[in-house]
Symmetry: none
Subunit: 216 residues, 4 copies
DNA sequence: AATGAATGAGCCTTCATTCAT
DNA sequence: CATGAATGAAGGCTCATTCAT
């Protein structure tokens, strides 16, 4: 009895994963707006109606896909190994953790941008939305902790972390869309550059930040 | 004959502009994905078919709209008045020129992101694409010149300018999508902050950049 | 063996009733067109497929529901208590029995109208159909008997009973669909009015009916 | 110029009428709930999308069909010729006008019942709904005026007219659904019967109505 | 008896685009 | 230049019903 139930659940999971695989492929090929339930079903070897046994709506499929992606992001950040025990190395390691993940996997970036762009109110419930937000935040927290370990207070650390994230996002966007070639630059090199400048700035000004130096 | 032809061309231009006005209004109201040729035609006082007398496709309309937007961007940058004659003031003024333009006009940002995101190959001809790129570049050049005026060599200036652009783009994206609230930050304040740090960095390290300081 | 079989049948009956309860609830909530097997199954604690162990089709469920409804109708008529022993009081009591039942329970009326309107040939077998007709007839017979008790012959009684039924049905339809408000009238008051006129007519013309009075 | 425009409008009207014809046929065949835009389009020789050039929605088609039907109803009532100049003849003529129309054209009755039954809030705007109601009312007004000409006051006339309408509707429903065979009766005969009794009642009781006679 | 995945047909509607006029 | 009817493909989604387990 128990065994049968478990096997059924396992099979259901597997088939759900199959649909998700198909969805991922279709999203990759047609972009997220261009993906259709019909196409996903066809790729998964199903009729359109069958998809709704596994997901409530198109947006729900996207939500599941994004959740997966954010899991991978966190895995990437967690497995990032700093070069030494210093807070600076920790910051660099973790920052390159999330940045490198997206730089190396443009499809995950697409998924992430869709989160950031246009998420229909239906399907992606506010509850899921918050969980996704939390997962993203989780991936960025280590950097913030490193900043605090380097002497920044909580507010400054959050500010610098946000700036760091924005910088990375901007570079990734430029790279992903090919616009960075316009400037003959490389995204990862520029991100390294930003990190170096940030560390130097902190080393010089300490917890006071550059504002205290009267530059503004 | 000649006169008639000229007049006809002028009228054609005028009517084309009318369609563009309608398109802008519809895009503002319904967003880019939600805009339809039908709606644009109705707003312009035309029937759907008539639109195709002026534009080859929906994407072409978008292209024209983006071109206009980039014109407005350049106007904004050109009319930016630095606080004093220093190169630093010039950099800040021009940088805030483009950043402020997009921060204040989210729809223009939509247009820009759409360029970056999903533009069908057809409609946006390679030729137009290059012209658009050039217009964007033009809006960013003043900052690059200011950086050179402050002693950076051409390569460093381009690098810093790209980083500056990326930073702004990242902040705008975060702000536009509301994700920046997640970090309890304000995009413009952070952009100011970045500019201040950049100026300070240049002031300290001069044309050598931080790399020369052995930080990396 | 025997006992087990009986118990099994009893349980089957019970579960069938459970499904019917669920169906009634869903019909009440979503109306007849809006009800779905899925919803009924969910409400009954079953999966969709299980429903087909108890009913051949959706229409069969509706048929069973209608049979129940007609049972309730008959119960209502049977429990109607005339004010006194006169045939007139008996007629009024029984007529208000069926009329009041439907006036007070619009959902039963829906069921009845659905029977009348759009019942697929399948599901409602001719056999069931006849049984339903008989149940309906049964609820109307008391009035007919009262009419005969008042002196009308069999033909006249059936004619008047049909007219009485039609009158009530018309009023119920008008009331149920809100169209009666158009006329600023109340269905029950009009039904009373009809009954009063009918009784008066019989009292005056006796068994001969108005036709004998040369009105036509 | 003028001529072309007129011709175009005429053609548009014609094609719209074609769609309406197709819709009428499909409604007749599949019932109103079972009719689909696809089917209507196919029957009209169009693709589904084309239908939306002529009607905003499925409900709008139904609305147009019903409007037509009510026009025919009014035509039937208006062209009803009383046998003589008496108010009684006028009442009979006009009442048989609307009753006979529906008795002879069951499809119009279907349409009418749909009005009375379930009209989606969308498509059939409240405005149209009111106009349809008004058209129905218009067909019933002559009877009410005849009742007043016979001495009934306004309230009594409206009450009797509503009762008359309800009676006819009930009979039509019973006849249309075949339920009247159950009673071995004929709808038109019963309607005549009701009219005769009504006239007699008015003749006897005059404007006071039966209530004044102490029957209740 | 019950599951629940899957079907297959269907639903209404929207849309960019074309083309005869 | 402009019309506007028409296309054809697609969109997300629902549903009664079936059937292997």
């Amino acid at each position: 009895m128990e065994a049968r139930l478990l096997r059924q659940q396992a099979m259901s999971q597997t088939r759900r994963a199959l649909v998700l695989d198909a969805a991922r492929a279709v999203f990759e090929e047609h972009g997220i707006e261009g993906a259709s339930i019909r196409e996903i079903a066809k790729r998964a070897g199903y009729t359109p109606g069958a998809i709704y046994s596994y997901f409530e709506s198109k947006e729900a499929i996207y939500g599941a896909l994004l959740a997966e992606s954010l899991d991978r992001l966190n895995t990437a950040v967690n497995s990032a190994r700093p070069q030494d025990d210093s807070a600076a190395a920790f910051l660099k390691g973790k920052a390159l953790g999330w940045f490198g993940f997206y730089a190396a996997n443009p499809r995950e970036l697409d998924l992430g941008f869709y989160l950031v762009h246009g998420l229909a109110p239906r399907g992606l419930t506010s509850d899921l939305n918050q969980r996704l937000n939390a997962r993203l935040h989780e991936a960025l927290v280590p950097c913030q902790q490193a900043l605090m370990a380097m002497g920044l207070d909580a507010a400054a650390a959050e500010r610098e972390n946000t700036a760091l994230f924005a910088h990375g996002v901007g570079l990734l966007l430029l790279q992903h869309t090919g616009r960075i070639r316009m400037f003959k630059q490389d995204a990862t090199a520029l991100f390294d550059h930003y990190l170096a400048a940030l560390l130097l700035r902190i080393a010089i000004h300490g917890k006071d930040g550059p504002d205290a130096a009267g530059c503004r």
